[in-house]
Amino acid sequence: MLQPAAHPERLPSVWVDVLTPLKSDFNVDVTRLCAHVRNLSAKGVQRFAIFGYAGEGACFSNAEKLDALAHLTGSGIPAQDLMLGVSSTTMTDAVQLIQSAHKSGVQRFMVAPPLHYQPIGQGAMLDFFRQLIRQVNLSPWQLYLHQLGGASRLDVAEATISELRREFPSVLAGIVDQDIHPSHTLDLMRSFTPQLAVIPTHEANLVVLKPTATLSALANLIPIVIQHILSHDTAVQTTVMSGMKVRKPDDRVTELMTAIGDQPMIATLKLFLSVHYHQTEWELVRPPLMRVSSTAHEPLLKAFKNFNLLANE
């Protein structure tokens, strides 16, 4: 059941930032997408963000997103367990996507600020979201501001968020923070919790931040580990030998991040999933996203083998 925006801290914990599988023609492979979400669901994950940051959301049209959504709900994934990424340069497209997806039962939307030729001022940003919310004009629905991180220069300023919260308390439910710096997320938490859910995405910061919810790209591979971190469990290993170091969940996150190294994260996670599922098609990313370079391919495969994905992760 959808939680009221007034109690966002009760938002269920791990949202997987679902990777989007592609066919050789770079169209969405909806069959593989449904299977992946189903597999994650079988591992105990219940919440899925589709076409977010890891889902290459900015690379897909409204029609493609709605088609994938229809397949997911048709395959038995409850629409109320989905959050849809909205990253459009035009307001009309964003409004149309939200309204269409809402008809399928989706009520949570992660909306990124629009891209423009020039940096967008906060007054214009406020206008964009204000108009968007008014034009969507649905009930009930929840908007999560997708903060893309300091480097993108697209962050919605705290004053703008406060104003939106004041004007639309039943719609604005939270902030998904893509920034890798824990201090950035911490500032948002200090300013807006418990009125808004502040959802970090950088798994390495979870132990420090102790959030009630996270949006995790690594959860495509290690969903149970991420769940353990969020519930503050100390160990995921059930078999412990004397003298052997017991790896904590956050150690496994560090190990996976080390395996990824400085390679493009989305492409690398897809490469790892292709190994896990034994499906080479999973490697594909949609241009303009960067693929894993041919020189990095073999070392990454070796690193993932050494990572040794365990049964209970």
């Binding site: 189903r38 669901s41 079988a42 290993q237 078999t239 599922y277 034994h278 049964a311």
Partner: protein, 71 residues
């Protein structure tokens, strides 16, 4: 989602297996890696066959590359 009547393809003791949800529940948590979940036994078996075929091909390639050249 309800997984009661579904099927899983797992890797256990270095072997692929297709097992029902009921059987999977009897396994110790860290003795297998769950690869995929399927609605029907047939789908699970199709995937199992695909994985075994890949293993056979990879093993063949390994053997070929280890075979000394004939003179």
């Amino acid at each position: 989602m309800d997984f009661q009547n579904t099927w899983y393809v797992i890797e256990r003791h270095n072997r692929y297996e297709a097992v029902s949800h009921e059987v999977l529940c009897t396994f110790e948590a860290d003795t297998y890696v769950m690869l995929q979940n399927f609605e029907t036994h047939h789908e699970a078996l199709v995937e199992l066959r695909r994985l075994i075929r890949i293993e056979i091909e990879e093993t063949q390639q390994k053997l070929m590359s280890n075979t000394p050249p004939k003179f």
